[in-house]
């Protein structure tokens, strides 16, 4: 048990630190846009969604309609549908007391640690996921709090290159899993297509490029299995 807790904390620690600038930004941006401290904190406590939060704060300041807000938030969050699908078989037979919190904590960051074929199997792996996801939630809320109380005194830290740290962590998590040609091609197709989707500003680009990559991997794998 102690090992699972320690591993959960240590694995998530780099990401907990790397997202600091964006946590601060979520807090300070909300205050700048007329949110009360409570409302600003509740965005991270309840919505807990990084980029969707930042966009929602700006839209709310412009007095966008509730429908616009909900649709925009859905578009940015749609990738989480894929995460739920990917871990459904591992999680669906677990009691709600595990499924509920893990679903709530199922961010990009937690999903990044969910790829192991035995992830979520057995109590220790569930504890691991809960600790990793929970520590990220806590860190995100602490950074938001700092942004709320001190945002006006702090410089913008998002241009210090910490976005590279996030990229480096994801590279560190992806590369060891690239063990055969289908996975390599799947990643290449995802990477190239997301650049194209970004240049044409296609809103579902992340989901679309993931689906393109996944299909590539699937087809190549099926071909390999045949021969």
């Amino acid at each position: 048990m102690k090992v699972a807790i320690k591993k959960g904390l240590l694995d998530m620690l780099p990401l907990n630190l790397a997202v600091l600038p964006w946590g601060l930004l979520c807090g300070s941006l909300a205050i700048q846009n007329g949110f009360t401290a409570l409302e600003a904190q509740l965005m991270s406590v309840l919505v807990f969604a990084g980029s969707a939060q930042l966009v929602a704060v700006e839209l709310m300041a412009k007095e966008a309609s509730l429908l616009t807000l909900m649709v925009t938030t859905f578009i940015i969050s749609a990738r989480h549908l894929l995460y739920g699908l990917a871990i459904r078989n591992k999680m669906v037979d677990k009691p709600l007391r595990w499924r509920g919190p893990i679903a709530f904590f199922l961010t990009d960051e937690l999903f990044a640690f969910s790829h192991h074929h035995r992830a979520y199997q057995g109590k220790l792996r569930l504890v691991y996921a809960l600790v990793a996801g929970g520590s990220f939630y806590l860190a995100w809320n602490v950074w938001t709090f700092f942004g709320i109380v001190a945002g006006q005194f702090l410089p913008d830290l998002t241009n210090l290159g910490l976005d590279f740290a996030i990229a480096a962590i994801f590279i560190a998590l992806v590369v060891p899993g690239v063990s055969n040609l289908p996975v390599l091609c799947a990643c290449l197709v995802s990477g190239i297509s997301i650049l194209y989707f970004k240049t044409i500003q296609f809103e579902f680009g992340l989901v679309a490029s993931a689906l393109l990559g996944m299909s590539t991997g699937y087809v190549l794998q099926a071909k390999e299995d045949k021969s």
Binding site: L85, I169, L206
Partner: protein
């Protein structure tokens, strides 16, 4: 305002919880599961690639740039050592040397 925040929270939670709901009447067969087994590497790649290749929102044109050099170092270190901390800190050093 609080009502709006709760509504948005419902949207984000729904996207995460939907396919973990027990009473959703469908099962994922082995073929679909195999397709989904590519989801993590593909999504993570689709997140890190734009950070590295479009750090300012536009495709980078010159190779002598900290994001590209740092990413090359990260790929090399991850491939060689398969260690999260070593890859992260090693490539961060390369990144800040050129930043």
């Amino acid at each position: 305002m609080i009502v709006t925040i709760v509504a948005l929270a419902c949207v984000t939670f729904a996207t995460r919880y939907l396919f973990l709901a027990k009473n959703l009447p469908f099962t994922i067969g082995p073929r679909f599961q195999r397709l989904l087994s590519f989801s993590a590497p593909c999504v993570l790649t689709a997140i890190w690639v734009p950070i590295v290749f479009m750090p300012n929102g536009e495709l980078v044109t010159e190779l002598n740039n900290p994001y590209l050099l740092g990413a090359l170092a990260a790929i090399f270190l991850a491939f060689k050592f398969k260690n999260l901390y070593l890859t992260t800190f090693g490539s961060l050093i390369v990144f800040y040397l050129f930043f």
